[in-house]
Symmetry: C2
Subunit: 418 residues, 2 copies
């Protein structure tokens, strides 16, 4: 046996894996009869890719097109390619995806890459490749962030990821543990996952309704090392759980999800904030982030680990020093209670209140999916090639909502809904 063909997929409960696929299609996408599906995934996730394809076709899908990436091919590039190669990207592929989304194909991404895949590689090459990739991906990403079509991300417990989360277990046990953690967080470890998601979406809806009814103009965070006022974008709207894409389909873009979130004002953030969990970015762990905002812009940034990578990220483009998302997650969220660091934003962002550098989401505005890019910018929505979430919540954080007249309303106390 070669190591490459041994991925311990047999350690993964096949019934729950099938339920995860069903939830991705029926809850995540609500894939419609006749709708095409473009599915991106790492090659290790093929067992889930196949189950999702089956459920997509059972739901009446037109055509399911998997686009598989492969760690071995990616590393072959870093190990062998000329420097010039790292400025290249598959523009033809992403333009094609954009075309498919333009023709109403749904999009499903499976997260499962080795978070440390590029940790041993030249950071300059990584940065060049990311920039080229981000630029090429733009036409497709724009259709996703502006929510033109129903889309969804789910996770698959690949071996390298499992070993990072559970370094002290055998390969097989690590895969089983990560699989079970994914299944629990994705609410497929029960008899009625569809029902469980219905209830969860209703609970998140109560929170967003409450926040929207208050029309806060800013949030103020206080805690150890943090004294931060985040102005919210004009006509922002709080979202969370199920949402309706421009094509009219209600979907859950992230599985799992525990957050309610909205768009901060790109020019109205003031004060200091510290991270409360490490951020895993392209194979680098960035820890103990401390930043200071002035006029919405990060003017000072430090980190105890990964500071160089953090600064590279901040220098990506005009919008990478400003915020595109603010999200509330109670400290008692199931993912937080698992106590695990997943090294993957899809999970880690659901363990604590967080903010994101970079691109905002159109859907976090009143009638947001109908707004143009210019209208979004006029309301304070940020624009960037990046969208990087990092955790600022803990059981020591208090948050107040501030109304336009200055009235303060408790939102969080000691990390929980007030």
């Amino acid at each position: 046996m070669s190591a490459q063909s041994e991925n311990f997929s047999s350690a993964i409960d096949p019934v729950k894996l099938d339920k995860l696929a069903e939830v991705a299609i029926k809850v995540g996408l609500q894939l419609q009869p006749g709708q095409d599906l473009v599915m991106t995934a790492p090659s290790q996730a093929l067992p889930l890719v196949r189950r999702i394809a089956a459920h997509a076709y059972k739901a009446g899908a037109g055509l399911v097109t998997p686009i598989l990436s492969d760690e071995g091919v990616t590393l072959a590039r870093y190990e062998n390619a000329n420097a010039e190669s790292f400025d290249r990207a598959a523009g033809w592929l992403y333009e094609g995806m954009a075309k498919a989304y333009g023709e109403n194909a749904a999009r499903l991404a499976i997260a499962g890459d080795n978070p440390m895949m590029l940790s041993g590689q030249d950071p300059d090459k990584v940065a060049r490749a990311n920039r080229a990739q981000s630029n090429a991906y733009k036409p497709a990403l724009e259709k996703i962030v502006s929510f033109d079509i129903n889309w969804n991300i789910v996770a698959y417990p690949s071996l390298a990821w499992a070993k990072l989360v559970f370094p002290n277990d055998t390969d097989e046990v690590a895969v089983k543990k990560l699989a079970d953690a994914i299944f629990a967080a994705s609410r497929v470890d029960n008899d009625d996952p569809i029902g469980a998601w219905r209830e969860h979406n209703a609970n998140l809806r109560k929170r967003t309704d409450w926040l929207n009814s208050h029309s806060f103009s800013a949030l103020h965070y206080s805690g150890p090392g943090t004294d931060l006022t985040i102005g919210l974008a004009d006509e922002h709207e709080w979202a969370g759980g199920a949402a309706t894409a421009k094509n009219g389909i209600v979907c859950n873009a992230n599985i799992p999800t525990e957050e309610v979130f909205t768009t901060p004002h790109a020019y109205r953030v003031e004060g200091t904030v510290v991270s409360t969990k490490p951020l895993s970015h392209n194979g680098t762990l960035i820890d103990d982030i401390q930043v200071r905002f002035e006029g919405g812009r990060i003017v000072e940034a430090k980190a105890s680990k990964g500071e160089a990578v953090l600064n590279k990220v901040l220098d990506t483009d005009e919008g990478s020093r400003r915020l595109g998302e603010v999200a509330l997650v109670p400290h008692s969220s199931p993912i937080s209670k698992s106590g695990l660091l997943f090294y993957n934003t899809l999970f880690d962002e659901n363990a604590a209140c967080h903010i994101a550098l970079g691109q905002c989401y159109a859907k976090c505005f009143v009638n947001g999916t109908k707004l143009t890019q210019d209208e979004i910018a006029a309301r304070g929505g940020n624009k960037s090639l990046i969208h990087i979430d990092w955790m600022i919540g803990s059981d020591k954080i208090d948050i107040d909502g501030i109304k336009p007249d200055g009235t303060r309303v408790p939102v969080f106390r000691k990390g929980e809904w007030a």
Copy 2:
């Protein structure tokens, strides 16, 4: 261990696999510094995909983009999809590929699918899916058949294919035997594969030079059940081995290859011919084909096995009852001597003289890569969505070349060069 993750890739000699990858890049494609590469492959072939990516980057490739298909996803469609799904194809993906080839990306395809993958499926669904796929693939295929860019096909010994060729061996032994057969046929089972290909290309060149110097207007085949005159296209040119693509790069499109071949005249084929080896087409074995041509068109077709599938193929479009290729392969070719039926045209067509139904190759005309579609048609070149080779050679076949003045020159006697 699940069966899906066990593919016995460890039974494959890693040194020879790496040499195969090197030959694909250096001989098959002669990939140029800075040139991008689009690589299609079944997911089982990932060990070869990774080695090819490494050699591509060592040769200075721009970007290598693998597009992986997966048998499990394909079968999930046949088992679960609505009938309407089978009329759909990923046009956006193939248009994108065409764009990449238009920007001078090279194309490499790895053959290794289970030849019987679709053998249990509804033939109507298979036919519908193939038609939709062929139509969608057209823009990309046209750039390949008109030889706009350097392209190459190599093979990978996937388990299902190996078990079909070696049904009486264990999985592991079957994979090892098919791997060794592929390595031998691909001339990588020696110390200097690049040198071996140089010599082989020179030998094929001698044959094509001789055939081109005679300017035959037709070939006449005689043997048991066969009395066939194949008129050759006006200004046809014999090709074989290395050839120059329109982008100026010399490449070997097929690895392995033993044939010399040219374009027959779509309207000048008369007589009867029988197949000498079974044809494996989309999971169906078609055996003992007997057809009669009139004015280049097949007017009668029989087969002892798979006759219904054969007739479906012939009804694909206008050009599917006419010939697009005629190829000469001595009965003593190494692949013929192996005695194996590979159930794969890339190999089986190199075991015997063959003809192909359907699309012709532009490069098999004098200055062919500069001709328009109309000019090719005017010279007798056939046009079709299909190109299906089948074997008509054996040690009992004699072939004469017929010059425009009626002079006959022996070309083959008892299956060997005369």
